[in-house]
Symmetry: C3
Subunit: 343 residues, 3 copies
């Protein structure tokens, strides 16, 4: 059960309500009016809890689980204990996410602008937006309604933020236009000057970075991630992206919609990712590349060339996944042979 110091639960909810919020169907003949009090993993769930099975690795946990209700794929129906109430979904993890969000809605702030925040007289703050202590908001910034601005965050002059956004503690946002329902986690750095300089005989001369960062609706950006503003064109992050912690995105980069970028990835200047590209952790991209729609790139890869839509790639330099698997197998066998010979 989540720690009540941090998480406030609503409910109980009936199985029927869970079905409604999640889109999962109640198994035929199962109790629609059963009361459910909380969410829990299969291993620790009790008779008042709802759990879920997504990864088939956990099938054995299902068979011994005491969860009162469980969300599972219709094909797993027979693997569940008889006494378990079942909610059937083609995408049990998605259904569970919606159920958990129903039990634990985001807390609505009950106070508005904290008297200890520093808001420029010309800034506009929308209705229901909560500005925490220590926040600094610059001249002419515009923040929408129902936003939460975390403690010690900094919103620079002229920045525009849409509705229902959550800006984490100690985050800084400058030179940016941000959509609605965007979440920026603690310590993100949006809109700093890009890494641009011209080198002459007496050293490096910084090139003014005159673009912005544009972020689409429903995008989330992880803690301590850095996204530089464009040099003259803009840096653009599409809608519905999920960007993890400690990612670096250079100036003039363009991400399409729905991209997933795992922690510690670095994307060099002017590279473009089309929609729904998935990038594993610690991948690096050279600059000025075009990565096609739906490309998937394995962790720690180094991408030095354009990649065609839909492919899977791995390695540094990155090659098609199938080819990389062979490379890795040969390298492994070479190491073993040599070790045997010498041994």
């Amino acid at each position: 059960m989540p720690d009540t110091r941090f998480f406030e639960i609503v409910g109980p909810l009936t199985v029927e309500q869970l079905s409604e919020v999640s889109g999962a169907a109640i198994a035929e003949g199962h109790a629609r009016d059963k009361l459910v009090k909380d969410v829990a993993p299969l291993e620790s769930a009790g008779k008042d809890d709802v759990s879920f099975l997504d990864n088939p690795l956990y099938l054995s946990a299902l068979s011994t689980s005491e969860a009162g209700v469980c969300i599972i794929h219709p094909e797993r129906f027979k693997n569940a204990p008889d006494e378990m109430t079942l909610l059937l979904s083609e995408n049990p993890y998605l259904a569970y996410a919606k159920v958990a969000a129903a039990f634990y809605p985001e807390a609505k702030p009950d106070e508005l602008c904290d008297e200890n925040s520093f808001i420029h007289a010309t800034a506009e703050i929308g209705q229901g937006t909560h500005v925490s202590a220590g926040v600094v908001i610059g001249a002419n910034a515009e923040i929408g309604s129902q936003c939460e601005i975390g403690p010690n965050a900094v919103i620079g002059p002229g920045v525009v933020i849409g509705d229902e956004c959550r800006i984490g503690p100690a985050a800084t946002v400058q030179y940016s236009i941000i959509g609605s329902k965007v979440r920026l986690f603690a310590g993100v750095r949006i809109g700093e000057a890009g890494f641009g300089f011209a080198t002459g005989s007496d050293g490096h001369f910084t090139v003014p970075q005159l673009g912005r960062v544009l972020i689409g609706n429903n995008t989330e950006i992880g803690a301590n991630t850095t996204i530089d503003r464009g040099s003259s064109a803009d840096t653009v992050i599409g809608q519905g992206c999920r960007i993890d912690n400690l990612v670096q995105i250079g100036h003039n980069v363009i991400l399409g919609d729905g991209c997933i970028v795992v922690s510690q990835v670095g994307i060099s200047g002017s590279t473009q990712l089309d929609d729904f590209v998935v990038v594993g952790g610690q991948v690096g991209f050279s600059g000025h590349l075009k990565i096609g729609k739906g490309v998937q790139i394995a962790a720690q890869s180094g991408v030095m060339n354009d990649l065609a839509a839909g492919g899977k790639y791995s390695g540094s330099p990155a090659v098609p996944m199938r080819q990389w698997i062979k490379q890795a197998a040969m390298l492994r066998s070479m190491g073993k042979k040599k070790a045997n010979k010498d041994g």
Copy 2:
């Protein structure tokens, strides 16, 4: 000599006092009551300073050093100049660390809650704890005694912190239970939501992250490192760990006691490291792995499989160190041969 703008020294201390704080033995017949004023490296130490020799590479520096006192391994006794007073220790670096800590104790804050900090009325702050300017502490947070909370740090609602902790400037801590004598350096992000979402036909839906971060006593966590809270179970960091800067630790990760994690490592969700695992810089781990006790992993490795206790590994994908050395040697020779042929 350390810059007195930043470091306040106590002393002088006698050789006998140095022996007591460090556990190093005074060499037979050497002066117990000699006064020592400061610590210094072998190269620059003078007759009033204490130095140490740990790495045998510096043996020549020992022979020409003018240090009045030196901590060395008993086996190096003969390498020291005759006029040097010697403290003998099986672990000279550890003994030096304790001597240096005696000369330069952590400054005790002389003022308590800064009038410019923002502390919720329901938060509890222990005796002797110093809260710096710009700090924001949320509702029901509990902070122990003799802690130092650095400027502009943010401690979220409900967070529990033990005694004698040092929270760096601009650090943020949320959804966390933290032991005693823990140090969090500047800009750490503890307890942000993990990278969890379910993907449906209309995009990614964020899964509420309902766990916490638990951190054991005596653990230290480097600047700008991010540790996400658990999804339903907790993210757990054991006692006495040393985690460097810019490390990413995903939700539900478990670290045992005494682990060492060098800078820019990324550990994906639900991976478990047993006690005393040592991880080199920029290593990446896939999710859901089990890494055995005392495993050592070389820098830049990519760990994709469980690793048995006590082994040494390297490479991406990681293989046993011995095998990797062969791989690297063959690759190197292949590159050279081909270069010769073409040349």
Copy 3:
């Protein structure tokens, strides 16, 4: 045209003025008194704009550009449309940088110490320096003239900062001596304790870190980058360096002048880079290395040995670039052959 919410333009400027600020020569017979209103990329520039051509990949954009004025290399003279006014430079990007800086000078702060900043009574703040809201400045800190200290930045006790520096929002600086015209971007962590501990039978014992960070004039350091202070000697960053975001620099590292370090690089303790070393993204260095003057290292390399001046290196472990290209080619062909055989 840059977004006027964020960027304030001066002008118009004549072609002659552009020639003066940039050092580019006006092409013979071209209009010296033509008025220019703004900078723009070749693709979108109009008759009142000045653009530039640096990368030959954009030659076709030049031929169709409607830019009124363009800075180009003398050799490209013939590629430009007849009606375009040309400024000729051996280094068009550098000349453009100077022109852009003339149109968009750094805004001078019009208010000085914000009433909402927290400055210790013993700190000294130079003339014309702007201290933003939420800034905390410690005892005996000395900050020069004409500096900009961003919102919620923290300057620790005793820190010295020269003239005309820009410290980004939420940056923290401790135990450091910083030159003039230095820029620290948002969230940098300068001067935290290095990763130093001695391991005994009862765990890790932290070694007091008694050095400082010294940063030379004209150096810029990217967002969320971390530079630890020395253990007893200092960590030193030379003049005119450009360090990107999310870089880690360990204790006692020494960087010469003019070094370029791209994002997410990690440099382990005591490693020394001579002047004008260029390091690609995500490179890792072991500790205690010496890297010669002008060495260039490709992205994602792992440097485990000293590197002689002037060389180019790649790979993990890093080898001479030429050798690495052969290695990569052989690996690629091996992967392909094996794939064919199996296929």
